[in-house]
Symmetry: C2
Subunit: 203 residues, 2 copies
């Protein structure tokens, strides 16, 4: 039925693996870590159980590959959005970073991080990814005009602090969202980034 063109083994393999990773990531986003079963992933990917285990020896291996895929996509799309904006103000950067933290895809990352806390194998596989992730973010941030005002020896702490804040905000907003407070907080962060006090003391 589909135009039966001949594909190399490498191509067949690549498309199947890609479909499986896509499926795993979307399932992590929509159903969470525990409900991302091999059966669910194969169903989404249109691949059989046997097909999955040909490319990933265990569910664990699939989850690790999915984690790396999430990390890669998240960083790429954030970097691209930053590029697209050109020379951005501190506020612009913060808005972008907040969008990235709240992106559905990032929820998959939280799922994996939380699962890794009580799963030693997953922990050991994800730890280097997390380190790399943070490092890439810091390096990206270091090149930004908005970071020019931050002393070099404080930049890493401040930058990752902002990421942590937006991560925590994103997680809790699922249960208890406060849009107004969150906007106010973004303004405070922008002031902080510029080396000003968080609020205007002449109230």
């Amino acid at each position: 039925m589909p135009p039966r063109l001949r594909r190399t083994q490498a191509e067949r393999r690549a498309t199947t693996v890609a479909a499986l990773l896509d499926a795993a990531v979307s399932s992590l986003v929509e159903l969470g870590y525990a409900a991302t079963t091999t059966k669910e992933v194969t169903r989404r990917a249109g691949v059989s159980q046997g097909g999955l285990f040909r490319h990933f020896a265990t569910r664990h291996e699939l989850m690790v590959a999915a984690a790396d895929e999430v990390r890669r996509r998240q960083f790429e799309s954030f970097a691209a959005a930053l590029e697209r904006l050109g020379d951005a103000t501190a506020e612009d950067c913060l808005v972008l970073l907040r969008q990235a933290c709240r992106a559905p895809m990032n929820a998959a990352w939280y799922e994996l991080v939380v699962a890794a806390r009580t799963d030693r194998d997953l922990h050991d596989a994800l730890a280097p990814m997390a380190t790399r992730y943070m490092k890439e973010i810091v390096e990206l941030g270091r090149g930004l005009p908005a970071a020019a005002g931050v002393p070099d020896d404080q930049l890493e702490s401040v930058l990752l602090g902002i990421v942590h804040l937006l991560d925590g905000e994103s997680m809790m907003s699922v249960l208890d969202p406060h849009p107004e407070l969150e906007d106010q907080r973004l303004q405070q962060l922008a002031r902080g980034l510029k080396g000003l006090p968080l609020w205007d003391s002449a109230h």
Copy 2:
């Protein structure tokens, strides 16, 4: 074998329920949400399966009760630590808050929050608890001397922002800890709370 003293039904019920909640919470902390099975909880509590389902109609009900227990204990222990300290400086308060976020018990809260994202029933049950939790923290913080310098209309945003930051930090430190950065960040937060810029611009 144990001193067979006569207990009322209410007492029997209360001790069993307490044992089950203890077991559920410790299992959430040590094994995570997915691995906190009814069997695991009954094993830890020394109660039979039938005994559990006499008091909790479903696993879901047990998890909801455990969540409220976690919220209660976390807030109580934090309030007690604050009380114990007397009139605390901003640094003192931040250290205490950071300890609370990193406490093993708080990991159970993260487990439940993340699980609630993809479990509508759990979400609906936990949402009011999360709202209450945040509100209690803000009210507690409002009474602190360390918060005196923060304008009233900015306090909620700042305070919850700090909590989010410490939550995010706590979650990621499982995979990628940076003790030095985290201490530096605490100093920056303390400066921010006092209405100062986050860093000393006379570098």
